[in-house]
Every structure is written in structure tokens, then in C-alpha cells.
Subunit: 433 residues, 2 copies
């Protein structure tokens, strides 16, 4: 397949498909593929890449080309990218921008990391509250609305204080002389530029907004958090939660292109914490070694016991973590959560306990069956409480609830579950010990 | 606090806040709160509720009020709600709608469940490809664009075939006599009405669209999948994945209002499957009972071994499940995934193994230390492979990869991990057995 064929092939793919394919390639291959794209297409594809890949690509190109790619990015994306680069490189790149873009970019970079200001699209054009529909449309003509995004316009008074929003679609469909004051929506959500970007993005999602106005401390309009940026922020958040749920720190690069060492480092931290926590289980097992030695069959069930406890706990934790993420549950609901989880745990425990009792009693003896059934009941209830409560406590003390992931919950439940198991065994099997 | 106070308090909350608060209440309280809202506000709040709560509320109201609430919903949301209701109730509700809304709703309900057609917003207004900007704006004036959503318009030929899209913002900012053909974007994504809604929603997200055109088999324009609906679809998808990652089936209702029995049922299925799978571990333990009886200290480490294997496996699985969800990895990458995971697993295993060796050797003896270290190395590598491969296999055979959640992976790794553990122990401790 020669270059011309490849270029024809690329012509048939959509921008998104090319960007996706590129994120699966190593950095040299990426650069080669990228050079094959025509200029406009290249800028478009560049926009869709994630920050890590954008930075890699810029590295591969000569100064002139890099400056061009950077300039073609929307202001908020450019600020995002520069914020992630080493300060020195970022400063050099900034110097290559035309004056007006440099100012806007510097302003965005002035807001704290992870703030709404960092990710907003600056919108210089606003509609005056005392104009009419026709005047507003006249004013818009010829303006650069950075039109990929803006479907909603800010309505302000003469000192740029936000007083409402008007949808472009409302503007377009109404009669020429309607006053803007009649068309605008006054019940307007807005966030401060220093507010957390995740909180802002969630508001966009919950209130079904196309754009959320960002204001300064005096309620002056600065720009919009657009829905596509909000989706990206939430997507990142979801990815973080998904990694944490599996007991690993989130990767900073796509899975296939991250180095093996990067992957190992992100997982190693938690794996280490977990194995240290698992020392508890060794202690519990040692403590009951005499019991284990006299009834060796007890050891046989240990993995089943710890496994079931871990599973029940992880089910409860994942329900509550998710409910917290979508604001269905709050830390103050802790009483209600415990009361639900106790009952759910008991129900599950009784169901499983009743199921296994006859089998274990037949194969071993009824006392072993009784120990197992009772243990399963207690452990299910206990695991559900632990799994339900820990994420709420985390949220309360300001830790990401997703940290109380399945592995963390199950490791904690393992040790306590074994205590329950051996205590029950010692009582019921007293005559055998 | 009397009714008037409560109404004043409600007046200070935003629509979204009220809807959120309602989703935390039981159905009777919900209905009471809902009755306190004025008419417009009630319709708005109703729109933000999820389908389960909407259905509950409609149940609480008399026919007249229900019909009104239903009529105020956007067409796609109404179809969604009716689709979830018992056929008899849905038919009665449909009969209460005016003719035109009934037709639109019936059309949407005609598409398969989970299809793009079911969730699209029907948009009767299109722009003709041979008109000018001014003609297009004239045509729009006075039209009902269902303006909450539409920021992008379909451009069609005279037989309603989709030929491109034009952003309202482009339309508004360009000169009066510009031909639409010049303003429209021809590289247009579109989906068929029978396509899967999740695939469509992901396209909206990946291509940063405000609306995705939905067409019929002849490429005739039917309506738009709007970004807010796409976000909702993806949010549901994420919730499903989060539940599955914790080893439970997704709930059909918010956590706090679902019945305890509902919660138990969604978790019980998997807990049962897992405990049955855990029978494998009992078999492995029984098989090596002689080894256990002669070196009781081996039992002491069982929970630590199974725990570490489960954790390493769940880390790998969650990385790969997430990478699959965002299309970073595909089943055909299985070779690359295995090769990465083996190396990551070995790296992690050697790190942890080297760390625990001196401690265990000191407390017990060096041979026990050697057994444990070697086991940890092998089990980490094995768990990473299993965790990485299973989601890919699932995707390949058309099962949701999230099903190979942490609990499933760790239960599978438990049994095989124990075989590794005891085999290594038998070789190294041969003289002690």
C-alpha cells in the first residue's frame, strides 16, 4: 500500500475515526499519519485528540507547524493543552501566538486548575437586555461566535452583569420587534470562574443545558462552559471512578499507549496498601491456628467465606458510590443507608445460608453446615453495612468515595469476616476442639 | 412549618434542586410536594424526573392532571415514559393526547427499544439546500423548534434527503444573501433510526455534536438526537457499568427509593453465581488437605494470596473494561493486551514478592518466605492476564464486558491462584511434607 492509497483511504474516514485510530498508535506512527492529512483536516483531528497525544505530536513538529496547530485550537482547548505542558515549553508556545489569542489564553490559564474558568469558552459577544430581537440579530451578524459551540447567548446589562440567557433558536423564531427582556430566560444557572469544573459540568448534565454561563465575583459574564466540554469533564471523572472501583489509580494516558511502567505504578500503590492491609488476615488466621489445626476442614471454607464477604461488600459499595456520584444519596443519609443495607444483607445471607446448609451438612456434618450458614448470614449483613457506610464517610471527610472500591472494601471485610467465622466455629464446634 | 412557608421555600429552589429532592422521597411524599408547585413549575420538574418516578407520579394523579403533564413533555421523553408503562395504561394515556402529539408519539414508539429512533426529537422544520441565509431565517420565524434543544438544523433536498447540517450560530452570523449550500457542513454524521441508541450517543460525545441527525433507510431526515438526550443515555450506560463492576445487576430505580427486595434481587443473582463458583476453591482446598494438615501455617496465608490475586485481576479488568467502553481497545488487540498485562503483572509481583520475602522469612522460615514470594509473582502475572483477557472475550462474543467485574474475576482467580500456591508449596516444602 503506497502513500497515495493511504491518503485516499484516509479521505474516506471521518475526523473522529482518524483521531480514534491515532490514539491507538505509538508517537512516531502518529506523526507520520498526521503528516499525511491535509491542513484543515489535520487541525480538526488535532482538536479531537486528548491532551497527552496533542503534546506528543507538538513535540514531533517543527516550531512553525506547532504554532499553527495551536492557533487553530479553540481557546479553552489551547489553555488546557498549555497548562499540561512543561512551563518552559508552554511559555515558548505562548510567545508564538498572536497578541489577542495570547491574552485570552493567559486569562484562562490564570484560573486555578480544575476550575470552571480554565475550561470555559470566552465569549466576547453578549446581548443587551434592553435591545429587541432584531437589534440583537443585527449585532450578531459578522461576529465570530466560535460557532462550534455557542447556541445560547448571555443577556447582560450595560456593565456586563449577567441578567439572563437567550437561546439562539428562540431569537431566530420570534418576531422582529420582540424585546429581549421578553425572550430571555431569567431563571439562569451560573457558576463562578473559580468553582470546581466537575460541579459545573454536572450542573450542565442535570439541568440539560447547552451552555452554562461563567461569571466573576461581581456576577459579570466571562464565558460559557459548553455542553461538549462538560461531557468531556464528566467522561474523565467517570474514567477515574472506574479505575478506582477496580482498585487502581487512573491512568494519565490511554491504556494501549501508556508504558508498562506507568500502568504498574498506577496499580502498585494500591496493591501495596492492600497487601499490607491483608497482613490483618494473616494475624487473624494465626490467632485461630489452634482451632484450624484441630478442625482442618475449617480452612477449606476460608476462600469461600472471604470471597462472599468481599462480593457482598463490593456490591453495596458500588451502589452507594454510584448513588453519591449522581447525587441520589448524601452523607446525611447514613442512617437510611445502614438500615437498608442491614436488611438487604440479611435477606441475601439467609437465602445463601439456607441454600448451602443441606449440601455442607451432607458432605461434612450438620455442625459444619450450621457454622457455614450462620457465618454467611452474619458476613453478608456486615459486608453490606461496611460497603454502604465507607463511601459516605469518605465523602463526608472530603475523600473521593470511589477510593472505597471493591478491593479496599473486600480486604477490610476479609479480616473482620474471618473473626466472625472463627468465633462462630468456636461456639458451635466447642465439643470438637 | 406550614404550607405557605413550604411554598415560599420551594420558590427559592431551582427546578433541578426540586427534582433532585423529590427523587429522594417516597411516592406519597413526592405527590404531596408536587401538588404544592405551580403549574408551569410542575411541568418543568416533571421533565427532570427519571422515568420510574414519572410513572409513579402519574399514578397518583387524576386523569386530567396526568394527561396535562404528559402533554407538556417533549415528544421523545413522552414516548420514553409510555414505553415503560404497562401497555394498557399507556394506551389509555395515548388516547388522552391531541391528535398531532398522538401521531408523533406513536411514530417514536414504533421504533425498536433502545434504538436511536426511540430517543430522537422529531424536527419537522428543515432548511432547503437551495435557499439563502435570509430565506432560511424567514422560514424559521414563528416555527416551533422545540427550542430547548435545537441548535443545529438539517439541510435537505426537495425530497427531504439529508444533505448537510447548518448551525444556528452560523446562520445568524453570516450575511443575508449567502447560499445555504455555502454555510452548511457536508461532512455530517448521521444514524439510522433503528441503530442502537448507545452507539449514537457515543458518536455525539466523541464528535462533540450538539445534535446528531437521525435518518430512515432512504437517508430521509427524521429528527435529531440532541446532546442532552445523548448525555442521559451515556449516564445510564455508566451507571450500568458501575453496578456490574461491583458485581450486581443495575437497579431500575434510584438507590434510596428502590425496595429492599429489589436491591437484594439485583445482587442475589450474582452472589449466587459467585458462591457456586467459589465451590471450586473448596475443592482445591480439599484436594490439598493433606498438605494443609502437615503445614498448618500454609492456611494462614490463604486469604492474603486470594486477596492479592483478586485485587491484581480486578485492576487489570477495570482498565480493560474502561478502555473498551471508550473504544481505546478492541477485541483484536488481545495479543497486545496479554503482552502488556504479563509484564505489568510480573513487575508488580516481583515488587511485592521482594518486599514480603524478608519479613515472612524472619517470622517463619526462608522456605515459607520463598513459597509466598514465588506465589505472589506467579499469581500477579496470572491475575493480570485473566483480568485483561476476559473482558475482550466477552466483547467478542457479544456479552457486556463489565460483567467480568471485579467479583467475577477475583472468584475465578481465587481457585486457580490456590492451585498455583499449593503446587509451589509442594515443590519447595517437599522435605517438610
Amino acid at each position: 500500500m503506497d502513500i497515495v492509497d493511504l491518503q485516499t483511504g484516509l479521505g474516506e474516514l471521518t475526523t473522529v475515526e482518524i483521531a480514534e485510530e491515532m490514539s491507538r498508535l505509538g508517537s512516531t506512527d502518529q506523526a507520520v499519519l498526521f503528516r499525511l492529512l491535509d491542513k484543515d483536516r489535520a487541525s480538526q483531528v488535532f482538536e479531537y485528540l486528548d491532551v497527552a497525544h496533542q503534546a506528543e505530536l507538538l513535540d514531533e513538529f517543527r516550531e512553525g507547524r506547532s504554532a499553527e496547530l495551536l492557533l487553530d485550537l479553540p481557546d479553552d482547548d489551547r489553555a488546557q493543552l498549555l497548562g499540561e505542558m512543561p512551563a518552559k515549553v508552554a511559555a515558548r508556545m505562548m510567545a508564538g501566538l498572536p497578541e489577542d489569542r495570547r491574552q485570552v489564553t493567559a486569562q484562562l490559564l490564570g484560573y486555578p486548575e480544575e476550575s470552571a474558568g480554565r475550561v470555559m469558552t470566552p465569549v466576547p459577544t453578549v446581548i443587551s437586555a434592553d435591545s429587541t430581537r432584531e437589534q440583537a440579530l443585527q449585532k450578531l451578524r459578522g461576529r465570530d461566535l466560535r460557532n462550534r459551540d455557542i447556541a445560547v447567548l448571555a443577556v447582560t446589562d450595560h456593565t456586563r452583569h449577567l441578567v439572563g440567557l437567550v437561546n439562539l433558536s428562540t431569537l431566530v423564531t420570534s418576531a422582529a420587534d420582540t424585546p429581549i427582556a421578553e425572550l430571555m430566560n431569567k431563571e439562569t444557572h451560573a457558576v463562578n470562574a473559580t468553582d470546581d469544573q466537575e460541579k459545573a459540568a454536572r450542573l450542565v448534565q442535570e439541568a440539560d443545558l447547552l451552555a452554562l454561563p461563567v461569571v466573576d465575583d461581581e456576577n459579570r459574564f466571562l464565558g460559557m462552559l459548553t455542553v461538549d466540554d462538560a461531557m468531556e469533564i464528566l467522561e474523565e471523572e467517570v474514567t477515574e471512578d472506574a479505575y478506582r472501583a477496580g482498585g487502581s489509580e487512573p491512568l494519565e494516558q490511554p491504556y494501549l499507549t501508556a508504558t508498562v511502567f506507568h500502568l504498574a505504578r498506577k496499580r502498585g500503590v494500591w496493591l501495596l496498601v492492600l497487601i499490607l492491609t491483608a497482613v490483618l488476615t494473616v494475624n487473624v488466621m494465626s490467632f485461630f491456628e489452634a482451632t484450624l489445626a484441630s478442625v482442618v476442614v475449617l480452612a477449606t471454607f476460608v476462600p469461600m467465606i472471604t470471597g462472599t464477604g468481599g462480593n457482598a461488600g463490593s456490591q453495596a459499595a458500588s451502589s452507594v458510590v454510584r448513588a453519591l456520584a449522581v447525587d441520589e444519596v448524601q452523607p446525611r443519609d447514613i442512617g437510611r443507608v445502614i438500615w437498608r443495607e442491614v436488611r438487604v444483607g440479611l435477606l441475601l445471607g439467609v437465602f445463601l445460608g439456607a441454600l448451602i446448609f443441606p449440601f455442607i451438612s451432607l458432605i461434612y456434618e450438620w455442625r459444619i453446615g450450621a457454622v457455614m450458614s450462620l457465618t454467611i448470614i452474619c458476613i453478608c449483613a456486615w459486608a453490606c453495612i461496611v460497603g454502604g457506610v465507607l463511601p459516605l464517610v469518605a465523602k463526608k471527610i472530603g475523600v473521593d468515595p470511589a477510593v472505597f472500591s471493591t478491593p479496599v472494601v473486600s480486604t477490610l471485610v476479609d479480616a473482620t469476616g474471618l473473626v466472625i467465622y472463627f468465633s462462630i466455629a468456636q461456639v458451635i464446634l466447642a465439643s470438637m476442639l
